[in-house]
Amino acid sequence: MDLNFTPDELAFRDEVRSFLRAKLPPEISHKVHGGKRLEKDDFVRWQKILHAKGWGAASWPINHGGTGWTAVQQHIFDEECADAGAPMQLPFGLKMVAPVIMAFGNPAQQARFLPRIVDGTDWWCQGYSEPGSGSDLASLKTRAVREGDHYVVNGQKTWNTLGQYADWIFCLVRTSTEGRQQEGISFLLIDMKTPGITVRPIIMMDGEHEINEVWFEDVKVPVENLIGEENKGWTYAKFLLGHERTGIAGVGRSKRELKKLKAIARREPGDGKPLIEDPRFRDRIAQVELELMALEITNLRVISAEGEKKRAPGPEASILKIKGSEIQQMLTELQMQALGHYALPYLHEALDAAWPGDPLMADYADDAAPLSGHYFNVRKTTIYGGSNEIQKNIISQMILGL
């Protein structure tokens, strides 16, 4: 039992730091630190830079083009990337569909899809939720009917994140209405350029276009894009959700946001002295920092145990999801609260990295402008990836046997 980094781990951290100093484009880290909008090109560019170094897929095994890093190395990498202001590597390809393809896909699918995920060629998105199937995901109705060497897909997916940029979508589709509803679901990979697919934006309450509805109208999908066996998709979906939840802990990003919160609280005036000197506000920061300290260790305990047993994340990942999402929300709430009056202005243009600020406003309004929007945006975290109430059901049923 030792929470200190070994000399090897410290050397690895130095290596990651110097890589980030040399290779992370400052115009991208400026956006991340300033809470500005990231464009598709920012994500893709960063993925290609990581891939060139051989670090495109930190969590993958070496034989699939990953790093083969230990859980602790991955943790160090995540934390350093977040701290330096690297864009989050979006999970849809790397952490969601890729582990499914590795575990359940055939060699041809692995050879076709995995290299294009790690090198940043393909942008993936997720087709899970439907208007009538949210928490009760297994009730989904999007149909895939086998006709010769194709499936014909009809239906509607929703809450699809950044699908407006996507090359591919992985979908849960109904291939049977016999038996339990979980037993008629299949896992299909669909090219977003296929005729019959329509992507319609859903604007979130921060005014941003981050999610979509995706409509399928007689979309022809070759049968070789089926993962595993027909009607076994629910098993793969649950496997995937376990992977999604570990990433959701978001410890590195929350540590960065905590740092930012402290910086704001030191800068903001509160009754004639810096806000951080107000013990009432300071204690709120302290409370969330305690939660994050505990989560960091819990996260390492869970992923280390998984690494040793060589198994996929289990229901313990639900604990990480619940705590991680709550912490992200607390941090944005306090960042917003710290701004006082300047939490009010809605300056949508301030999300644009090119916005020059306004000489008539206080000089920090530029930095402050995105923060309230961020608070409104991250209300999503306790809802997506299986709402926190669903996570508690999973803990009750899978861990506790209730």
Partner: protein, 377 residues
């Protein structure tokens, strides 16, 4: 980083777990709490046989390993003692006083005391906190007046844990140089104890020292240099209390889960109700997070850097106490009427958890200390 226990640690954990399950059941514990001593002297001998009374001491002074065990070893022991709601004064004798003698004692003092302590033949208590001073460690009014043959101690000490069974006391007092520690025979003339049981079934006492005479050999550590030693000992005691609390929370979760599966109302086990399932899930989450912080506490408790150690211990104690409140209160609530009875173990676990939360700094005290470190950074 490494989240595994060694083979030796796992073996020790297993030994203690079996002892608690087989020989330290709830009814036995209840009888011991009502006995004159308030704990089980046979169990104390067994602890000596297991080697845990000498755990933190180097081999030369009766310990079982060359340099003595670390705070992670203590964490393992305390977690198991928590599970069993063990009444024996392990915290006072081994962690607090044993730790002070190990860190501050002269070679002669260590040789004279630690082997006996490890063999279960010597019990100790730390008389430091005073009436009206709450949790501050530097507020001591008790005086040590130097004279040609030693010192004269005068003053009052509050709620000295395990004092009634102690053979010797370690007493903090102010001399001309500052705060010092003195080893005093508990039966020395001029010492008066008002002993009482504590809410959790253990024993403590308020103590009055009136012109108590001690010789030069009584000084433990440098004259005037006790505060840093006390701070370190209390940090280590708080790490131990965090581990004990986690042991109790784990045990409470087990009995509560069992109750949810067996107690039927409306024709079904009450664990079928989602409102109760989610509370149980909250208890599990709180316990896992608390366990992480107890690990942090143990790993940092041996840190020589006092600043980093204080910060980690304040964080851990505050967080564990907050989790303990959640788990303890919900465990009682989920047991319904049975939860508030003396008959069931749940109430006893809850009382001990609650008292841990008031020992050596409560939630607000530790949260405040942690919060104040944000000003420095």
């Amino acid at each position: 980083m490494d989240f595994n226990y060694t083979e030796e640690q796992l073996a020790l954990q297993d030994t203690l777990r079996r002892f608690i399950a087989k020989d330290y059941g709830f009814e036995h514990r209840r009888a011991m709490a009502k006995s004159a001593d308030g704990f089980d002297r046979e169990a104390w001998k067994t602890y000596a046989d297991f080697g845990i009374l000498a755990l933190p001491f180097p081999e030369d002074f009766g310990g079982i390993s060359e340099h003595g065990g670390n705070a992670v070893d203590t964490m393992l022991v305390m977690e198991m003692l928590g599970r069993g709601l063990a009444l024996e004064p392990y915290l006072s004798t081994v962690v607090l006083c044993g730790g002070l003698i190990r860190d501050a004692g002269s070679a002669e003092q260590k040789q004279a005391l630690l082997p006996d302590l490890g063999a279960g033949e010597l019990m100790l208590a730390l008389a430091h906190f005073e009436p009206g001073n709450r949790y501050a460690l530097d507020q001591v009014a008790t005086t040590a007046t130097a004279h040609h043959a030693g010192w004269t101690l005068d003053g009052s000490k509050a709620v000295v844990l395990a004092a009634p069974s102690a053979d010797k006391l370690i007493v903090s007092a102010r001399d001309g140089l500052g705060l010092s520690l003195f080893l005093v025979d508990a039966k020395a003339p001029g010492i008066k104890l008002r002993s009482y049981p504590t809410q959790d079934g253990a024993r403590a006492a308020d103590i009055k020292f009136s012109a108590v005479q001690v010789g030069p050999e009584a000084l433990l550590g440098p004259a005037g240099g006790a505060l840093a030693l006390i701070e370190r000992a209390v940090d280590q005691a708080n790490a131990a209390l965090c581990a004990e609390a986690v042991g109790i929370m784990a045990a409470l979760n087990e009995v509560t889960l069992e109750y949810l599966k067996t107690r039927k109302q409306f024709g079904v086990p009450i664990g079928k109700f989602q409102a109760l399932q989610h509370r149980m899930a909250d208890m599990v989450i709180a316990t896992e997070q608390a366990r992480s912080m107890a690990i942090l506490a143990a790993v940092r408790a041996d840190d020589a850097d006092a600043g980093e150690r204080h910060r980690a211990l304040a964080a851990a104690k505050a967080y564990v106490m907050q989790s303990a409140r959640t788990v303890g209160q919900q465990a009682v609530q989920l047991h319904g009427g049975m939860g508030v009875t003396d008959e069931l173990n749940v109430g006893h676990y809850f009382k001990r958890l609650t008292m841990i939360g008031l020992t050596f700094g409560d939630l607000d005290y530790h949260l405040g200390r942690f919060s104040d470190t944000l000003l420095a950074a």
